[in-house]
């Protein structure tokens, strides 16, 4: 049923939406702007909105670090971790959604509870495992950790999406002679594509932004963009211009990616929300 709103209420809600959007966008805008300031302009108080733009910070960032090396690592880690996470989550979510047992709910909650653990609590054991398996400072090592970190979320999301798929459709597939593999790949997955896509997108974003494990498990060979940003912060000296330039470079690809896939993301996240 359509809800009728007065003109005033529509304007108020629209304005509120704009204010919240600008509020969220402002730090990114300011970071983008600061990247084009000189270091002295970057620290000026009161801050300068109008200034002579310069590419000095970008030039220094490119001179001091191999951006493409860090960016490639980030892409490999994010795509690899997301791909394997989705691959493992699909059968797990299928089993929990369509073949629930006595402990399914408990297992789901337990999986989610691992996200509540502060990562530093398991730093030493994971570091030792990575050391002994020669996975320190490797793309594979960090991708495995990122994948495991995101697995509870991807399983949960896919579980929610799968639950929205009507059981009779799967049963019809079975009646037509589909085995379990065909039931999942031919019947279920095409129906859940928006949900899988939004889960994958969210996992990609989480992997892209992950900093704790990146900084602790990599050093030079497998360091992703989060380590690239961290290298421009300095305890002694002015660095806001360079840090902003490095941060803009680091977030730009995922922002552009998010911009292009926002329709899919929103569609997936609201999948089944309105019946």
């Amino acid at each position: 049923m359509a809800v009728k709103r007065s003109r005033g209420a529509s304007i108020a809600i629209g304005s509120l939406g704009w204010i919240i959007a600008l509020w969220i966008f402002f730090p990114l805008f300011w970071m983008f702007l600061t990247g084009f300031k000189s270091e002295v302009d970057a620290i000026a108080t009161p801050p300068h909105l109008f200034f002579r733009p310069t590419l000095v910070s970008y030039a220094e960032v490119f001179e001091r670090a191999n951006y493409w090396h860090f960016a490639l690592n980030t892409v490999l880690i994010s795509v690899g971790a997301t791909f394997v996470a989705i691959l493992l989550s699909i059968p797990a979510a299928y089993a929990m959604a369509f073949l629930p047992g006595k402990r399914t709910k408990g297992t789901l909650l337990w999986m989610l509870s691992t996200r509540m653990l502060p990562p530093v609590g398991v730093l030493v054991p994971i570091y030792l495992i990575a050391r002994d398996t020669h996975l320190l400072d490797t793309v594979v090592g960090l991708a495995i950790v990122d994948m495991l970190t995101n697995l509870p979320i991807t399983v949960w999301m896919l579980y929610t999406f799968f639950r929205e798929v009507p059981l009779p459709i799967l049963e019809a597939g079975r009646m037509d002679g589909a085995n379990r593999w065909q039931e999942i790949t031919v019947v279920l997955l095409p129906l859940a594509v928006p949900g899988i896509a939004s889960t994958a997108l969210l996992s990609m974003i989480l992997c892209w932004n992950e900093a704790f494990w990146s900084l602790n498990l990599t050093s030079s060979q497998a360091a992703p963009l989060t380590a690239f940003i961290a290298s421009f912060s300095s305890p002694e000296g002015l660095f806001f211009g360079k840090l902003s330039a490095a941060s803009t470079l680091a977030v730009a690809p995922i922002l552009i990616f998010g911009w292009f896939s926002q329709k899919q993301l929103v569609r997936g996240l609201t999948f089944g929300a309105v019946k």
Binding site: A44, Q221, A227, E236
Partner: protein
């Protein structure tokens, strides 16, 4: 639909193969003589990294791999690495706080430079901080102490004259006179951001000069002493009356930004700020900066401040010999000459070598050089406080627990500064928390 299933299988297979190939390629072992160096993003380190190409030219079998990190991340990262013996790094940039503690744990390789290195040229105070049981475990890249910076133009306008060696009482009087909050000019800027290496570096140095100390005989915490109360009262009252708003958020960089943009009248902090404040590219007040010694409190003596960034070789490194070749190159007199040639004398690493301070070109390029050298020489990290003390260290206590203790006390002092508690409450809470930690660590029974 079946085409979709076949597509899925092919994609899974090809991505797995590609992933395995990429992973194994990226994790493949590199040449034996590749040194991985962990360092901080400070100006001197950036220059070292740029000039290291010269090293690679003269040492073609040694390749360098740099890992630059923010100071706190670096500390956490290299501590994990060295404590687990993972051997990810061949050279680490660590402070003089870590060197003796890590050497005691046998985490560092001993460094034995050749005669040509001229180890006796290193300033004694700095060298002593890197020595454990008469052996050197790191070589200093640059060192810093504490001094007072002030705005000559504001002093002139107010008819004031900064003595070469002021007292805290004088500093307070000057700050009161030059504060002009309506024009955003604050008489005094000091570190307020909580942290053992942030506000507590300044506070410890000031407390020593007021006649206070962290621990007395038998490791008894002394944070509730009259000297601590006098020092913290001075600190809180000066910053409240003449400091910038939000002082609890200001660390070294924030105060540097404030001073460089003309908002501070007086700033007491690390000597490393001298080169930054005198650089017109980074400072709007480059031609107006004056300097004086670190102020004196009621006691007037005591250790002040000594920090050095050093290059050390973890015991887990597989290339200790090559690492030592690089470490001695980067901290040598020849390296200082190289920086002077390539970047100018003002850019040479300060605070480590007598020969640098003897050089007339350096004296000319860095008018604050003599102050820095005197500040380091008088920093006296092993010296005595008003009462006998069981520890060494100037602006820190050289025990592993100090990072936790210092940060905790730093937070309560920041709470006093922001008005959440009184100075007495903050110090009594600090005394209680420090006693608890020292008891847990078995220093106290």
């Amino acid at each position: 639909m079946f085409a979709f299933s076949s597509f899925c299988r092919k994609t899974v297979l090809s991505v797995l193969i590609a992933g395995t190939a990429l992973g194994s390629g990226l994790s493949a072992a590199q040449a034996d003589s590749t040194l991985t160096i962990a360092t901080v993003n400070n100006g001197d380190m950036i220059i070292m990294r740029q000039l290291s190409k010269e090293f690679e030219k003269t040492h073609p079998t040694i390749h360098l791999n740099w890992v630059t990190l923010e100071e706190n991340i670096l500390r956490q990262r290299v501590t994990t690495d060295v404590a687990t013996g993972a051997g990810q790094f061949d050279i680490m940039t660590i402070g003089n706080y870590e060197v003796p503690i890590w050497a005691k744990q046998k985490w560092l390789a001993e460094i034995a430079p050749t005669a040509a290195y001229d180890v006796n040229d290193i300033l004694p105070a700095v060298r002593s901080g890197l020595t454990y049981q008469d052996k050197l475990y790191a070589l200093p890249f640059y060192a810093e102490s504490v001094m007072t910076y002030y705005r000559k133009d504001l002093f002139e306008k107010a008819g004031l004259k900064m003595p070469e060696s002021p007292t805290y009482d004088q500093i307070r009087q000057f700050a009161d006179k030059i504060t002009d909050k309506s024009n955003q000019v604050y008489g005094i800027c000091l570190r307020g951001k909580p942290g053992w290496g942030e506000n507590m570096a300044f506070v410890t140095s000031m407390v020593n000069s007021f006649g206070g100390q962290w621990f007395g005989n038998g490791w008894k915490p002394m944070l509730d002493s009259a000297a601590w109360k006098a020092a913290i009262n001075w600190y809180v009252s000066a910053l409240k009356a003449d400091g910038p708003p939000g002082a609890t958020s200001n660390g070294f960089n924030e105060n540097l930004a404030l001073f460089a943009s003309g908002h501070c009248g007086i700033w007491i902090d690390s000597t490393v700020a001298g080169g930054l404040l005198f650089d017109p590219k980074q400072s709007q007040v480059a031609d107006k900066v004056g300097f004086a010694a670190s102020p004196k409190g009621a006691y007037g003596k005591g250790p002040t401040w000594l920090w050095s960034w050093n290059l050390a070789i973890p015991a887990s490194s597989k290339h200790t010999e090559d690492a030592q070749t690089f470490v001695t190159w980067a901290t040598s007199k020849e390296y200082v000459q190289l920086v002077a040639r390539e970047k100018g004398w003002v850019a040479v690493p300060a605070g480590t070598r007598q020969s640098t301070y003897d050089n007339p070109d350096y004296q000319k390029a860095a008018p604050f050089a003599a102050f820095v050298k005197n500040a380091i020489a008088n920093s006296d990290p092993n010296g005595q406080t008003a009462e006998p003390r069981p520890y060494t260290g100037a602006q820190f206590v050289s025990i592993p627990q100090f990072q936790a203790i210092g940060t905790q006390v730093g937070q309560t002092i920041a709470a006093a500064l922001s008005g959440q508690m009184t100075v007495d409450q903050a110090l009594s809470a600090s005394q209680a928390s420090t006693t608890r930690t020292m008891r847990q660590a078995s220093y106290l029974r």
